[in-house]
């Protein structure tokens, strides 16, 4: 019985591959961000930073490379927040009654959905990285093939932990909401501040104090920090700003993501144990 979540996982992946259009459309948005915003902005940002003297020992990277990490993170955020929506459909029109009346423990519903959502994020992150490299994103510069593998693994670990937190949140909202419109509204409401109060498109150093505080507790900031560390390095300049990260910083960021996932799991578990569907 302790592999019951695999049933939920199997079924959700079945739907994922059946609706390939969904996968493709979820990749169009990041591709457009990079192709338009990224390339357009880098032509102006990179002109500014040319005037800034190079920091010795730090690698100078272009804006496109800088924001590519943000695009991966943003896509993970969207996919994860929508990852639980199948539960809402199941509740209103589908299999939720069957599942809730079955011997499957409710925690396995949450775990199954989280694992399938995480898998989807992995697939997307890898596709975006490949697409980015084609567009000229300078990830993994000067790394050996093994080094690249380690870096990709590191990125996926961060992406995975981050997506778990938001998948648990998505599952919580889905099981509590009555309509898909409501869910959509909440998600839109959440993504805006999470995305813009982060270091996805620009550094947070120049933020006003309140916004900076938000960005510090914002899981998205910590995901992006992690991605940049593995994809670009621990000492680089971009948009004329010098970034350095110690492994301790990275570990701290990862711990924030773990804590966030933990809290969100408890929340989901509590909501699911309350859920009544007739």
């Amino acid at each position: 019985m302790n592999t019951g979540f695999m049933t939920i996982y199997w079924r959700d992946m079945l739907r994922f591959f059946r609706f390939r259009t969904l996968l493709i459309s979820s990749l169009v948005q990041p591709a457009l961000w990079m192709a338009f915003f990224g390339i357009a902005m880098s032509s102006s940002f990179d002109r500014f930073s040319m005037g800034v003297p190079a920091v010795p020992g730090a690698e100078a990277v272009g804006y496109l490379t800088f924001m590519a990490a943000g695009v991966i993170a943003m896509t993970t955020l969207f996919t994860s927040l929508f990852g639980g929506i199948v539960l809402l459909f199941d509740k209103n029109w589908g299999l939720m009654r069957e599942i809730l009346a079955s011997p499957l423990p409710r925690s396995h519903i949450i775990i199954g959905i989280a694992l399938s959502g995480m898998t989807k994020s992995f697939i997307q992150a890898i596709i975006i990285m490949v697409f980015g490299l084609v567009l000229g994103v300078e990830f993994f510069r000067g790394l050996s093939p093994t080094g690249i593998l380690v870096a990709v693994a590191g990125i996926l670990v961060f992406v995975g932990m981050f997506s778990l937190g938001f998948l648990f949140l998505s599952a919580t909202i889905s099981i509590s909401m009555e309509s898909p419109e409501g869910l959509q509204g909440i998600i839109t409401l959440l993504t805006m501040p999470i995305f813009f109060a982060s270091n996805a498109l620009y550094p947070t150093d120049a933020f006003p104090a309140i916004l900076r505080d938000i960005s510090v507790v914002n899981p998205l900031t910590h995901l992006i920090t992690g991605i940049r560390y593995f994809a670009i390095g621990d000492n680089f300049t971009a948009i004329g700003i010098h970034f350095t990260h110690t492994p301790g910083d990275i570990l701290a960021s990862f711990l924030v993501l773990i804590a966030f996932a933990g809290v969100m799991f408890s929340l989901a578990w509590w909501r699911f144990s309350q859920a009544v569907i007739t």
Partner: protein
């Protein structure tokens, strides 16, 4: 197989199920018959663990519902009132998913799927998405799903709601077959004929209370309103004799013959009445016995017709 004592269920301040007790025996088909909003689905949802047991004692397949809900879940099959299928999964996937949910082994799962698809005649739809199925096919698929785990008790909430007459009759055949193979069946319905033809015993339920429980025969006999039609060689003489008979409650003269309402079981009273008439030298040329229908039973016990019956007037008004 099912033992329910003093079950109460409240939605907030509203009591939907009011102190219900009943038993369903092993191998039986047992029906809850009642109008919309009577509380049928609420009772089923408590029994299948979707709603929490607020008050009362329930045991199913030998397991106490409040102490061993997991065991209860493993022992039962369910067909819900609403369609609960994923439109974007195939027939085979729906059954496979269910088998996995209940932890059936792979070989057992695959064998069951084949058996059940042939039972409900959906072999050809194995790889169709459920959104491509007709209403009757969906219902058959849901019944097959309910049977996947070889449940000891099968719960069906309005199994033939919205199906055409032929499909309903096929559905009853499936259910009878499943029942013969040893599955106890508990179903709810607001169709008189379904309760009448399918079940061994019936509880009539209204406003959250059980009004009466019994076999269809017991319920009909309890009305005491069997009607006997008799033609004799001398109807006038016969009428005079019968009108003073204590077993006769009322009597009406027809063009050719007499219609007699009797107090009690007509199958037993008819021979006795015939003996009386024969002893008086009357010749009986024709007899007919009519038992009350389930509709009569329902009206008798609830004092009103099933609400759906009222719809007839709408059509009458439209007739030219």
């Amino acid at each position: 197989m099912i033992d329910v004592r003093n079950l109460v269920y409240r939605y907030g301040a509203f009591t939907a199920v009011d102190t219900i007790s009943f038993q369903v025996f092993k191998g039986e088909i047992f029906s809850f018959l009642g109008p919309n909003g009577a509380g049928k689905s609420t009772v089923i949802n408590v029994l299948i663990t979707l709603l929490t047991l607020q008050e009362g004692e329930v045991s199913i397949a030998g397991y106490d519902l409040s102490r061993e809900p997991e065991k209860v879940r493993e022992s039962i099959g369910i067909v819900f009132q609403e369609v609960t299928l994923d439109r974007d999964m195939t027939v085979w996937e729906i059954l496979e998913f269910h088998g996995r949910l209940y932890n059936l082994g792979k070989t057992e799962r695959r064998r069951r799927i084949d058996e059940l698809l042939s039972l409900v005649e959906l072999e050809e739809k194995r790889d169709s998405l459920t959104k491509e199925l007709s209403g009757g096919m969906k219902r058959r698929l849901e019944i097959a799903r309910g049977l996947m785990t070889r449940p000891r008790v099968l719960f069906l909430d309005e199994p033939t709601l919205g199906l055409d007459p032929q499909t309903r009759i096929r559905m009853w055949e499936y259910l009878n077959q499943v029942n013969r193979e040893g599955t106890t069946i508990f179903l709810t319905t607001h169709y008189m004929d379904e309760a009448d033809q399918l079940s061994d015993r019936i509880s009539i339920i209204d406003h959250g209370k059980i009004i009466v429980t019994g076999t269809t025969w017991q319920l009909k006999n309890a009305l005491g309103e069997d009607s006997i039609y008799i033609e004799t060689s001398d109807d006038d003489a016969a009428q005079e004799m019968l009108s003073t008979d204590s077993r006769v409650t009322s009597l009406r003269r027809k063009k050719k013959g007499i219609l007699v309402m009797v107090d009690g079981d007509g199958t037993r009273l008819l021979p006795a009445l015939m003996d009386t008439l024969l002893a008086a030298g009357l010749h009986i040329t024709a007899v007919n016995l009519k038992k009350p229908s389930m509709d009569d039973v329902f009206v008798h016990y609830t004092g009103r017709e099933l609400r759906e019956g009222g719809g007839g007037t709408v059509y009458r008004g439209r007739r030219p």
